[in-house]
Amino acid sequence: MQQILYLLQKEFRQVFRDRAMLAIMFIAPIMQTIVLGFSMTVDVKNIRLIIFDADQSVLSRELGRSFANNPYFDFLGYAEAPQELRDQLDRWQTQIGIHIDRDFSRNIQRGERASILLMLDGLDGNTAGIAAGYAQGILAEFAQGIGQRASTIRMALSGLPGTANMRSRPTPVTPVTSETRFWYNLNLNSKNYMVPGLIGVLLTVVTLFLTSMGLVREKEIGTLEQLMVTPITSTQLIVGKVLPFLLIGFVELNVMLAAAFVIFDLQLAGSYLLLVGVAQLYFLTTLGLGIFISTLAETQQQALFISWFFMIFIILMSGFFTPIANMPDFWQMVTYLNPARYFISLIREIFLKATPINNLWREIIPLAIFGVVILSASTLKFKKRIS
C-alpha cells in the first residue's frame, strides 16, 4: 500500500512538473467542449431555397409565400426558367429547388391531383431528408389552408440519396392535424444531446491516451526496468500507474460538467453520484485498454498511433454522432462490443432524462463486465510482459 502511495506521489510530481501537459489535460477538454458544443450541431436551419413557378397563379404564389415565410428556409427568390433550379443546385447556390407545375392551380380547382417537384442537394443526406420533411409539412398546412378537401397535392422528390426521383405519398388533405411534442429536449436543441456525448468522448481520449502513453514512457526511458528491480510487485506497479489517471479522469469529468453548466446552461437532470459511478466504471475499460496498448507499443509514438486506431472505432461506433439505429443491422450488432456505446447512452440518459438506476442496468451491467474483463486481461498481459 505504502509503495503505491510513493508511486502516486511520483506520478503527480511529474504531472505537475510538466506545465504544458497540465494545460493539455485540463484546458484542452474545456476548449473542445466549448468549440465542439457550439459547432457540432445537427439542427437543420437556413435551408437555401429557390422556386420556379410555372403556374404564376394566386395559389402558386401563396404556396411560394408559405415556403418563404417558414423560418427553416432561407428563400432566395424566384427562378426565371426551370433549368435555373438545376444550375443553382449544381453551383451550390441553393439547397432546394421547387418546381411548381403549370397546371398546379387548375388541378386544385378541378379537384384533381396537383403536383410540385422538389429538387434537393443530396450531398448531405441527413440535411436533405430533414428539409424534405419540412417541405412536406408546409405542403400539408398549405393544402389544409386552401380547404380543398377533395384534392391532393403530390410532391415528387429528386436528389435524395437512395430515393432518386422517389414519389412521396400524395399528401392527403385531412381535417385531422397532429402536433409533435419532443420530450426531454423540448426544442430539439442539439446542445442538450451533443454536450453530454462530448463529455463522454473527451473522457475516453484523456484516460486512454494518458494511460498508454504514461506506461510506454516508463518503458521508453528505461525506468520500467529500474522499477522492476525494486521489491515492488507488478500489481502495485500497475495500480500506482493507473490510479493517477483514474483521479485525473474524475477531475476532468467535473471540469467538463462545470463547463456544460456555465457555458451551455445545461442542467444535470439525473444523479451526480450515478454519473460519477458510471464514469468510473467506464474508466476500467479505457485504463485497461491503455495498459493493453502499452504492452504492444515500444515507443510513445507507437502508443499514440495505436490509441488513435482504437479510439476512432470506439467513438464513431458509440452512437455519439451517428445514431446506432441508422447503422446496418450487422454493424449495429458490432456496437454491442463497444463499451463506449453503453457509456455514451448512459451519460445522456442520466444527463437529460434523469433515468433512475433501475432502468439502466441494461447498460450498466455490460459496461461493468467489459471493464472488468478488459482491465484484468490487460493486467495479466502486462505482468507477463514485464516478468
Binding site: Q14, I221, T223, Q226, V229, T230
Partner: protein, 306 residues
C-alpha cells in the same frame, strides 16, 4: 571467502540464437569483478539474468546464496542494478529521484536522510540536488544512477557499462568510487568495453560471442598470449602493418595508436630484427620485445574463436 555471485553452466537463448553459452564464474564478497568484451558478447544478458529480469532456463544462478529463479523479491532488495542506458526520471530532480527509489526500497525514514548525505558526499551531487535529472551532464547522470542503485545499501552491485559515453575525467572519478565501495565490502560485477578499465578490476572474465575466453587477474591475462610480442614505433604505422601482414613469420599485427604490435612464433634473434628493420617500407624508429597486455591477449583469443 564467501561467494556472493555464482554462475554455473548458464546458457541463454533468444529465439534460437545463443546469447550465452554455458558459462561459469563466481565472485567473492568484496570483489570487484569485470566482465570485458565487445558488444554482443553476452554481458548484458548475463547481468539481466542475475538481476531476475530475464527468466533462467539453463544453469544455476545465485546471488548471496539465494537462487535467482526462486527468491526474486529477496534478491531484488539486496542488489543494486544499473542498466546500460540512463534510466531515471528526467523530469524529477536529483533529490526526488533518490528519495523515490529510497521509498520503493523501503529505506526507513530516519536512515533515509543520512544515507542521502553519504551518497551526496561521494557523488558530490549535493549542490545539484534541486536540478532536474535531464539537466545533468553525462558524468553526473551516471553518478546519480549509481547513487540510486546504492540508496538501499545493497550487498551486490551489478553495473552494466556504467562509463560508456562518459568523459575520461568522470570515468576515473567513477572508478575511484567503485574501488571505495569495494573496500567497504560491496561485491561489484561491472561490465565494460574499455580495456584500461579491465586493469582496475580484481579479476576479469573476457566474454566473446557468449563464451568466457579467459578468466583471471588482469595482470595474469597476458600469460595466455602464445607468441613473442614486439612493439614497433614508426611514423607510418599503417604501412608497417600492411608490410608485416604479408610476412610469413608474422603471426598477428595490430595497430595501437601510433605503434604497431607484431607477434612471432618465437623471440627474434638480433639478426632477424635487423632484417625486419632493413626491409621495412618506412623507417622504423624503434622495435623492442614487450610483455603482452590484456588487449593483445583478447584480440588473439577472439581470433582463435573465429
Amino acid at each position: 571467502m564467501q561467494t556472493h555471485i555464482a554462475i554455473e553452466h548458464f546458457s541463454k537463448n533468444f529465439d534460437g540464437v545463443e546469447a550465452v553459452k554455458n558459462i561459469s564464474l563466481s565472485v567473492s564478497k568484496g570483489e570487484l569483478f569485470g566482465l570485458i568484451g565487445p558488444d554482443g558478447a553476452g554481458k548484458t544478458t548475463t547481468m539481466r539474468s542475475l538481476c531476475t529480469l530475464l527468466p533462467v532456463e539453463q544453469g544455476e544462478l545465485s546471488i548471496v546464496g539465494l537462487d535467482v529463479r526462486k527468491e526474486v523479491r529477496r534478491i531484488r532488495s539486496r542488489i543494486g542494478y544499473m542498466p546500460q542506458r540512463f534510466s531515471l526520471y528526467p523530469d524529477l530532480s536529483v533529490e526526488q529521484n533518490l528519495l523515490f527509489f529510497a521509498d520503493l526500497f523501503g529505506v526507513p525514514k530516519q536512515e533515509k536522510f543520512q544515507r542521502l548525505q553519504e551518497l551526496y558526499h561521494f557523488s558530490k551531487l549535493e549542490p545539484f540536488k534541486k536540478r532536474l535529472a535531464k539537466q545533468l551532464s553525462g558524468g553526473m547522470k551516471q553518478k546519480l544512477a549509481l547513487s540510486c542503485t546504492l540508496i538501499h545499501t545493497p550487498e551486490v552491485l551489478i553495473l552494466d557499462e556504467p562509463t560508456t559515453g562518459v568523459d575520461p575525467v568522470s570515468r576515473r572519478e567513477f572508478w575511484l568510487i567503485l574501488k571505495k565501495l569495494r573496500d567497504d565490502g560491496v561485491t561489484i560485477l561491472v561490465s565494460t568495453p574499455y580495456m584500461d578499465e579491465a586493469l582496475l578490476c580484481d579479476r576479469v572474465a573476457f566474454m566473446h560471442k557468449g563464451q568466457i575466453l579467459a578468466l583471471d587477474k588482469p595482470d595474469k591475462i597476458g600469460r595466455l598470449f602464445p607468441y613473442a610480442l614486439y612493439e614497433i614505433s614508426s611514423s607510418a604505422p599503417q604501412k608497417i602493418q600492411n608490410h608485416l601482414q604479408s610476412q610469413p613469420s608474422v603471426q598477428t599485427v595490430h595497430i595501437f595508436g601510433d605503434r604497431v604490435h607484431a607477434s612471432f612464433r618465437e623471440s627474434l634473434s638480433a639478426e632477424q630484427l635487423a632484417t625486419i628493420q632493413r626491409t621495412a617500407p618506412e623507417p622504423i624508429a624503434a622495435m623492442r620485445q614487450i610483455e603482452p597486455g590484456i588487449e593483445d591477449t583478447f584480440l588473439e583469443l577472439m581470433k582463435q574463436v573465429e
